[in-house]
């Protein structure tokens, strides 16, 4: 059984479904822009404090967008019973999980493609490759954890409440490292290299741990 073929098939299926229905990404992008707009007015941003406030607004928007995006990863499939059909094949649950995480991560990256230019527009912060790299690296860890917990709570009635309760504590290290990297990319104090190193470490750790756990979470 070719795990790569399975992961690509699952990711492609999710992305094609999203492209045709456009249920999630446009709404999330809209939400992100609104969050930035509210942040811009609520904090009374000016040229002196913009770089200090912008990283916080960016991560708040990203966290809530991520919770919505990952929370919907399994919901429709559970309701349509297509998830069971997928699990009834000999395909490895780890490969299925990888495909789901890949697709959910890609959808969040699409939202980030709206978020980062909008952040520069509303807060006047510099747009740089360092900023993009920090956000993309954080997305990897957020996606694997978010999709794993979304799979765990998909059958629970209070899943909208449980998902943030389970996910946010484990996202905190990623957000701290990501926020430090973004602040450094904006020219504020902090070591960019150290923060990026930490993000890579967290990504490796969470990819390995969630892959090990996915077998048990998806199999039963």
């Amino acid at each position: 059984m070719n795990a790569f073929r399975v992961a690509v098939a699952v990711a492609r299926k999710d992305l094609v479904s999203e492209w045709r229905t456009r249920e999630l990404v446009p709404a999330l992008a809209q939400f992100i822009i609104l969050a930035l707009l509210i942040g811009n007015f609520a904090f009374q941003v000016d040229s002196r404090n913009a770089t200090a406030i912008a990283p916080g607004v960016l991560w708040l928007a990203l966290v809530f967008a991520g919770l919505v995006a990952f929370g919907r990863t399994f919901t429709a499939e559970r309701e349509q019973a297509s998830f069971e059909a997928m699990l009834m094949t000999p395909a490895s649950p780890v490969a299925i999980f990888a495909g789901k995480a890949l697709a959910a991560g890609a959808m969040l990256v699409l939202c980030e493609a709206a978020l980062l230019p909008a952040l520069s527009l509303f807060f006047g912060t510099p747009f740089s490759l360092d900023l993009v790299a920090a956000v993309l690296l954080a997305t990897v860890g957020m996606a694997v954890l978010g999709v794993l917990f979304a799979a765990m709570v998909a059958r629970v009635r209070a899943r909208e409440l449980l998902l943030p309760l389970l996910t946010l504590p484990l996202w905190i290290p990623i957000i701290i490292a990501g926020a430090t990297a973004v602040q450094a990319a904006f020219g504020l104090p902090g070591s960019y290299q150290e923060a990026i190193g930490l993000l890579i470490d967290f990504d490796i750790l969470f990819v390995v741990l969630t892959s090990l756990a996915a077998r048990f979470v998806l199999d039963e």
Binding site: S82, E84, A85, I96
Partner: protein
């Protein structure tokens, strides 16, 4: 040769006993209908046989393999049509089947073959969500035979299929071992020489022509 051997299969949902010690031996190529009222345990039995549900007690061997330990390996041999079609509404009929070809690790050329067999060639490019309930059911059946399973487990496959359900299912079931739950006793008689009647999770007597279960 026995393809399915079940001993004392039982399952509980909380305090409720859904299956109470079902014994079953099914030889290769046999067709068996599972009959019973709503809540009798038909779906639970079929889900256990399909390895979708782990029984709380009992032993199950399929193709000589322990179904409780080697279920992933066994899924190469099992085709399952559940009560709900379980399709992806935004994907076309062909895309639905091609996706499952990838998951079953079989060639995508199986998709058009299965569509033709189920009479869905004309709607191959239509989205599954736009198909009628009967066509969706045909598509779910097509998906279950993509990997040429030896054991086919069908949960009320005749639901929404229309007048030619018997003929269609007869084609699909040919040369396969089949366990099929249905409320249609006439269809069961036509397609299945063996019948298992369930009442409150227990196997009971013979409703029509029964030779079951030992």
């Amino acid at each position: 040769m026995s393809l399915v051997v079940a001993n004392g299969i039982a399952h509980r949902f909380g305090n409720e006993l859904a299956l109470a010690g079902i014994d079953l031996v099914l030889d290769t190529g046999e067709h068996m209908a599972v009959l019973g009222d709503n809540g009798a345990g038909k779906t639970t039995l079929l889900r256990v046989l399909a390895t979708a549900l782990r029984p709380t007690a009992g032993e199950l061997k399929i193709a000589g393999l322990d179904a409780l330990r080697e279920k992933r390996r066994l899924r190469h041999y099992i085709g399952f049509v559940a009560h709900a079609p379980g399709l992806y509404p935004a994907l076309s009929a062909t895309e639905n089947l091609e996706f499952f070809c990838d998951l079953q690790d079989v060639s995508r050329s199986r998709a058009p073959e299965a569509l033709e067999m189920l009479g869905l060639g004309a709607v191959a490019r239509r989205r599954a969500g736009e198909l009628s309930r009967g066509m969706q059911q045909r598509l779910a059946i097509a998906r279950s035979i993509l990997h040429e399973p030896r054991l086919l487990i069908l949960d009320e496959p005749d639901a929404s299929l229309g007048a030619d359900a018997g003929e269609l299912l007869g084609d699909v079931m040919r040369d396969r071992t089949v366990v099929m739950a249905t409320h249609d006793h006439a269809l069961a008689n036509r397609l299945c020489p063996r019948t298992l009647l369930l009442k409150h999770g227990r196997s009971h007597g013979t409703p029509t022509r029964l030779s079951v279960v030992k």
